[in-house]
């Protein structure tokens, strides 16, 4: 059983107060949607939770360990940001090869791409793909690590109805395997995920 606890989280970006006294507790199998207008601090919150931003007040505890002091925490989560982490001048296959190196994991390319029914894109240059197709490939990074938490920053942007449903199913499967998911979104996902906060 994993538990992510946020206690009195306050974060400034420059002089601007972005997050103020945020408290929440998530357990294995929980999903949380963070909603808010542009610039409200959704991405900042995910970057704080991912330990990219380390200057904040308050505490973030994962299984009662402060994430700032826990060297293993970086292996516990998977962060998929708004940028696709793809090299435009390379083919999809070569991008997957780079991931294979950096994640130190053998990838069965066509099987991985099959997740979003995009194995036909394997030899295509990333530059020639649509934003939605790039987003699908980017989200495949979720399959490459055995993480306990997913931080997804606007994952539904550019996705069509079919791929959105595939992603929702993927998130539910992860929840069923005791994974914790935190999603930021501008769109209303209230019918899909019941836990929602506004910042």
């Amino acid at each position: 059983m994993n538990e992510l606890k946020i206690e009195d989280l306050t974060c400034y970006r420059g002089d601007k107060l972005v997050l103020k006294d945020l408290n929440m507790k998530l357990k294995s199998g929980d999903s949380l949607v963070i909603r808010g207008s542009n610039g409200s601090g959704k991405t900042t919150l995910l970057r704080v939770l991912s330990n990219f931003i380390k200057s904040y007040n308050g505490k973030i505890l994962f299984n009662d360990h402060n994430v700032l002091d826990d060297a293993n925490y970086r292996n516990c989560f998977n962060f998929v940001g708004q940028k696709n982490s793809l090299k435009d001048n390379l083919s999809v296959k070569n991008n997957l090869k780079l991931w294979e190196i950096i994640y130190k994991k053998n990838i069965f390319y066509s099987k991985l791409l099959e997740d979003f029914n995009i194995s036909h894109l394997m030899e295509r240059d990333v530059a020639s793909l649509s934003d939605g197709q790039k987003k699908c490939i980017s989200l495949l990074r979720l399959n490459l690590t055995e993480s306990k938490i997913w931080y997804l920053d606007e994952p539904f942007v550019f996705l069509d109805e079919e791929n959105s449903q595939l992603l929702i199913q993927k998130i539910r499967n992860f929840n069923n395997k005791n994974g914790i998911v935190i999603i930021t979104s501008n769109i209303n996902l209230h019918n899909t995920f019941t836990n929602e906060i506004k910042i």
């Binding site: 200057s55 940001g81 940028k83 090869k97 780079l98 190196i101 950096i102």
Partner: protein
């Protein structure tokens, strides 16, 4: 560190042109020399020792965007920093990969170009030594400028204004064939400065 190094070298290999960019650019700068200054052997040999440093400086300067900015722009820097807990290791692997991809090819074309200019073998060796030690120092410098200006778009002129004055000591001593120990010392000083400032720049980005 080896993982990141391997990843950067594969990235250069997959975008196969990377290895040829700087060496072709470097060769072209040297080849146009006789068109500008005539074919007087002695004059060309003197100019050669200076122009190779201009070529090296420009080659390194023009590729500095690829050290951190390319990974920053497409989001790969987040993955790299998540997978590598030590920023210092990320920086060192970037030094090595950038040198291998963009400087090593210059050393492959240099002997051929030296023969074109009728440079003696002894002199080629000393030029090699100078360039070898100097090029590392120059890579250290562009790395920290690249880290400090991370995220700033269309700032190549600003970066050039910061970098070129820092290259001047390398250019001054580089043209003297006996001064490789000074270039080695300059490179070591650049390494210390670069490690500190690059780490600061990357932490600034992360924060």
């Amino acid at each position: 560190m080896l993982t990141l190094l391997k990843r950067d070298l594969y990235l250069a290999l997959y975008s196969s042109s990377s290895f040829f960019y700087t060496s072709s650019f470097f060769a072209l700068i040297l080849i146009i020399l006789p068109f500008l200054f005539g074919i007087n052997d002695v004059q060309l040999q003197v100019l050669f020792k200076g122009i190779i440093w201009i070529g090296l400086s420009l080659s390194i300067l023009l590729t500095m965007e690829r050290i951190f900015n390319a990974d920053y722009e497409d989001g790969n820097l987040d993955i790299i920093l998540q997978q590598n807990p030590s920023i210092e290791i990320v920086i060192i692997s970037k030094y090595i990969s950038h040198w291998i991809v963009y400087c090593l090819p210059l050393f492959i074309v240099l002997p051929m170009l030296s023969f074109l200019f009728d440079i003696s073998f002894d002199n080629i060796f000393l030029i090699f030594l100078n360039l070898f030690f100097g090029s590392f120092g120059m890579v250290f410098i562009v790395t920290f400028v690249s880290a400090l200006t991370l995220g700033a778009k269309r700032t190549i002129f600003l970066k050039a204004i910061i970098v070129i004055p820092l290259f001047i000591p390398f250019l001054i001593f580089g043209t003297n064939l006996e001064s490789w120990p000074i270039l080695l010392a300059l490179s070591m000083m650049s390494f210390v400065l670069s490690m500190y400032v690059s780490a600061y720049g990357l932490r600034l980005y992360v924060e």
